[in-house]
Each structure stands twice: as structure tokens, then as C-alpha cells.
Amino acid sequence: MDIKIQVENLKIFFDKNEVLKGVSIDVYRNRITGFMGPAGSGKSTLISAFNRMIDFEEDVKIEGKIYIDGVDIINGDIDGVSLRRQIGTVFAVPIPLPRSVFDNIAYGPRLKGITDKTELNELVRDSLKKAFLWDEMKDRLSMSALKLSGGQQQRLCLARSLALKPEIILLDEPCSGLDPISTAKIEDALNELKKEFTIILVSNNTKQIARISDYSAFFYMGELIEYGPTERVFTFPSQKQTEDYISGKFG
């Protein structure tokens, strides 16, 4: 199995606060990897290091290495802008830009310099299809994205990151504000998408991680407590804390 992202002894400090305390983990290509853990466990911080969005936080210090396809993105000569073309991100709350559905999806491609109308049309259509949103949106492309329902907005955000043709998709608690039906739609889309992409799903809903991820990682207080195939982690957790967390003793 192919390793897509390799993290070696990663430490992240906010001010003097050590938020990640030496994490090492391998993320596999074309799999869904679930990151779970209570609030403040460091799971979201870790993925914000993958796409270097962490650079926008203040007083951050990073030590250690992250290799994506063998290239060190922490110490290497990589700028965040080009890195984020390869990595799509979906946030906890859907954040459509205040413009039309079409312009939301075309935002990234246009930044890349794509102006050809047919090429953009195609990109928008493909991305919406992949996010299971085309049928609902095909007649409403010029509508303001702010008018969509929460579930639609979140799938729009997924489609928007797909339009950049990334290789990795990071989802930071994408379903926390959604109802059961919208959640199921996102999960269906992810199951399809993993054929093409490497997916990392951050969630504090352990049941969701158990349902759709292939690998599960449990973080607590900035440390990676347990990592392995999802089935193994959920049936035979090797650590007491993992077991407590999965069974809902805290979090």
C-alpha cells in the first residue's frame, strides 16, 4: 500500500503551548483515514499543517517533518499557494463565498488562470457531479450560494475544492452541523471519491469514523494514542484511553 503523507515526529507550538507533541503517522493513498479525539486533542491542528493553513495562525512554531509524495513540505522549498492546489479542504461549517454557485466553484480554477468558458463549464459540472450535487444544481448555477440549504452548501464546498483537481481532500468535521440525510449524502460521496483521492476525515463523531473510514487515528492532548485499521481500532483498542473515548466516557 502506498504512503501518501508521512509525518515524522511533528511538534507544533502555539506560543509556548505544545499542541502536538511529537506525532508520527502514515496516511495511505486512496483510503479514508479518520482522525478522532475530543476538542483540543490536536487533530485539526495536524491537518492544518498538511495544507499549511497553519501559517495564518499567530505565534506558531513547527518542528519535525511532513512528507507528501516524498517531498518535505515543512522544511522544503514549497509555498503554501501551490501546495493548496494539491490539497482540497472542507471546513466544519459550510462557508460559501457570497457569490453564485458557478462562481464559487470556478473561484479556484480562475485563480489558476483558467478563463476558457467551456473548460470552466466542464470543470463545474464534473465537480458538482462528484459531490453528488449536479442534479440539484444544474438549473440553479447562477443562484447565490448563500441561498442553498446547509447540506447543499457543504457539498458545494466539497465540489469547490474538487474543482482544483487536488490529490488529497481534508475534511474538518464536515457533518457537525448537518442533519442525518445530508450527512448520509456526504458519506456516500466520500466513499466514491476515495477511488481517486486520498481522504482525511476529522470528526468527533466516533460512529461516523467507524462507518466510513478505512484507518482510524485517535488523538488525545496532542498525542497520537492509537492508529490502525478502523475495524481493529474499534473492536480491539489497545489503549485504555481509546476504549474510554469510543465508548463515550469523555469527549
Binding site: F56, E58, V81, R84, F91, I95, L97, P98, G108, L111
Partner: protein, 278 residues
């Protein structure tokens, strides 16, 4: 003896309400007086003709032109400077000693009274740079004077753009300037526009800073080096020297109406935006 707090509560409400309406009453009274006394003396001729006999007769056309020119030109200069500063402060730096110093500069400029701007413009532009009493000296002085207002309102408008929108833009591989130009500024535009409109109002109503830089000549300014008299200065001279009460009221009405309409448009734009985003 403890008075029932419910009764105090009601009494306070009545007291505060009446004070608020008393204050609005002052505003209404000012506008009403200006309107009723000024309106009978206003006609097309007054607006479009030249003053005669120090303004005792005739109209205010040169002052209208002078006012529009000085306000427009100073806005044209101050807007890029002000909005640029606001972008720099909010997007391009972290809070540091440097931003504190710049903010201190902006706050200090905002606090300097207009007479000191007049004093400065007079000694620097009029005398040292040998511009004489001129439109140019007035424009440059007012530019500096309204700059802090534009910086502060723009900064607030930019800060009000949700951080999330920036994060999304970055996550879609935009650079900083692309994010500012395509996401932040369009969203902040109405707020910035409000600041600009308020500054126009301030420039139009200013007296102390313009009288010592642009002068008070009654002719029509046709070049940057011409001196001239703004409406506010004209009104001040008419009223203080007792030249003509009718003309003073009429000029005041033109002045107040133009400023009020500018302000009302500014608030209208702002409210539209607030209702759009909430």
C-alpha cells in the same frame, strides 16, 4: 426605606426615552430653522449666479464649484492612501509595535483640531511651498485631515469581513492579494464607501482648515493654483460680518442639505449591507 426596583425601572425608562428624544429634537429644530428661514431665499438664480457686493446680492455659484472641487479632489487623494493603509494594517501585518505606532499616528491625526490643520496648511503649503492661497493647498490640507476617517472606517469594514471567507480563499490556493482583491474588498466595499461619504461631508462642512489654505476670494476657481471660497467659508463670512441674513440662511440651507443627503446616502448603503449579511 427601599424603593421598589420595578418603579425605579419604569421611571428610568421614561427619563432616558425623553432625553433621547430631546436630543433628536435639537437636530430636528436645527434643520427646521435652517429650512424655513433659508428656503424662501433659494432659487435657481441663487445657485447659478455669481455673488455681487461681497455676497449681499447675487448667488453662490463660485462657492459651490469650489466646494465640489476641494471635496472631490481631496477624496480622490485620500481614498487610495486610506484604504491602502487599512489593508496594510488588517491583512499584511500582525499586531506588533509597528502597527501600534501607525495606529497611534492615525489616532493622533484624527484628534488634531481643524484649526491646527489650517495652521499647518498655511505655513507649509501656502508659505513654505509657495502655493499661495489656492485650491491645491486646500486640497492637500483636507486630504490629510480626512485620511484618518477613511482609514478607520475602512479598517472596520475590512475587519467585519468574516475570517472564514479569507480562510476559504486561501484554501483554494489564492495568494494574499488575490484574497484581498477578490473576496475582502468586494465584501467590505459598502463600509468603505460609507467612510468616504462621511469624509466628503466633513470636507464640505470644514471652515477653519480651508479658510487659511484656500483663502476666501469670491472668484470662480479654474485652476489648481486659484484661490477660492467654499460654501462653509462663505456662510461664515456672511454670518459673522452680518453681510446678509437672508443670503446666510440660504447658503446654510444649501450646505446642510448637501451634507445631510450625503450622510443619509451613506447610512442607507450601510444599512443595506448590514441587512444583507445578518
Amino acid at each position: 426605606m427601599r424603593i421598589n426596583p420595578r418603579i425605579i425601572d419604569k421611571a428610568v425608562k421614561v427619563g432616558l426615552t425623553s432625553q433621547a428624544f430631546f436630543t433628536v429634537g435639537i437636530l430636528v429644530a436645527i434643520i427646521a430653522v435652517i429650512f424655513f428661514k433659508g428656503f424662501p431665499n433659494i432659487n435657481m438664480e441663487f445657485i447659478f449666479s455669481f455673488p455681487e457686493d461681497m455676497g449681499r446680492h447675487g448667488g453662490i455659484f463660485p462657492s459651490i464649484v469650489g466646494t465640489i472641487l476641494i471635496a472631490l479632489l481631496s477624496i480622490l487623494l485620500a481614498t487610495p492612501l486610506g484604504v491602502g493603509t487599512a489593508i496594510y494594517l488588517t491583512e499584511y501585518t500582525k499586531e506588533s509595535r509597528l502597527t501600534k505606532i501607525i495606529r497611534f499616528g492615525v489616532e493622533s491625526l484624527a484628534g488634531i483640531p481643524s484649526i491646527l490643520y489650517g495652521l499647518f496648511g498655511f505655513i507649509f503649503f501656502v508659505i513654505k511651498l509657495k502655493m499661495g492661497w489656492s485650491l491645491l493647498a486646500g486640497v492637500l490640507t483636507l486630504t490629510i485631515m480626512i485620511l484618518p476617517t477613511i482609514i478607520r472606517t475602512s479598517e472596520e469594514a475590512i475587519k467585519a469581513v468574516p475570517r472564514n471567507l479569507r480562510i476559504v480563499s486561501y484554501s483554494l490556493s489564492a495568494t494574499k492579494w488575490e484574497t484581498v482583491a477578490k473576496v475582502v474588498l468586494p465584501s467590505a466595499f459598502p463600509g468603505i464607501l460609507t467612510g468616504i461619504m462621511l469624509s466628503v461631508g466633513r470636507a464640505v462642512g470644514e471652515t477653519a482648515a480651508t479658510i487659511f489654505t484656500m483663502g476666501s476670494s469670491l472668484r470662480l476657481p479654474t485652476s489648481l493654483m486659484d484661490s477660492g471660497r467654499t460654501l462653509a467659508v462663505h456662510f461664515y463670512i456672511l454670518a459673522r460680518e452680518g453681510i446678509s441674513m437672508e443670503k446666510a440662511y440660504a447658503t446654510a440651507l444649501v450646505l446642510v442639505l448637501s451634507i445631510l443627503s450625503i450622510n443619509i446616502i451613506a447610512y442607507y448603503i450601510m444599512n443595506k449591507v448590514i441587512s444583507k449579511y445578518s
